[in-house]
Amino acid sequence: MWTFFHKLASPKYFYALSGRLIPWFGVVTVLLFGYGLYDGLVLAPSDYQQGDSYRIIFIHVPAAWMSMFIYMVMAGAGAIGMVWKIKLADIMAASCAPLGASFTFLALVTGSLWGKPMWGTWWVWDARLTSELMLLFLYLGYIALQAAIDDTRTAARASTVLALVGVVNIPIIHYSVVWWNTLHQGSTVTKLGAPSIATSMLIPLLVMALAFKLYFITVVMMRARTVLLERERGSSWVREVLLQP
């Protein structure tokens, strides 16, 4: 097990392994999106209160889950890189940020597009919405910090500290609907007891969530490979990789 992790942390091994995995992850992602979209937009019935507007859920909720999940991966990878000085972990953390910011933005905008017809407003300073907006600013701060510091190790350390401080925001987002009595509805899936959503709607939701997750894994590997090659360009394995057809 540990030998595997040591091997995985070696740039050359990761480059080769991710190169073989990306096509498979890509194909599964496309299949899941295909099924999830068909099930969510065509097969799932209309909601008895919200009509068809509820179908935004199949984008909004997976995007919101990903926004928090990616943040934890980013902070975790950054911490691993900082403690054990693993270059690949730093690269992973940095590769997460633009994707996390994109999903956060998507969650916020689709939330707005859902809020307008259902709540009658694009935006309210509700605890859930505000803490998710904070998450977007944390991602943007992280990206700006990475870009502002030329030395890669200093950049990794500084941005990881920011990411770790920002972790406190994640439970706030998750429990905001419990702690404060706000406009945003409570959890329907991730709560104790059975999810309060019809199975015909739950299945496309979970399929879409899985599709988003696999999409993230695929793209984060692609990003990490480019950064890895750039940082390791002087080494002999990169030369070998480049000279292969």
Binding site: L41, S53, P98, T110, K116, L229
Partner: protein, 55 residues
């Protein structure tokens, strides 16, 4: 269900399709960026190797 009904989304077409459209744009853009970068990087690095006379 007809295609028109499907596209109409029970009167919520603007909100639903804007959400899905934006999701598509964001996901495709995030996929294309590393693909384009990898291609350009490969070309640059190979060019550099050639100039150094290592290839």
């Amino acid at each position: 269900m007809t295609l028109t009904e499907f596209l109409h989304m029970g009167g919520y077409a603007f909100y639903v399709w804007t959400s899905y459209g934006l999701a598509a744009v964001i996901l495709i853009a995030n996929l294309l960026v590393p693909m384009v970068n990898a291609r350009r990087q490969r070309r640059d690095l190979i060019g550099k190797l050639r100039r150094e006379g290592l290839a």
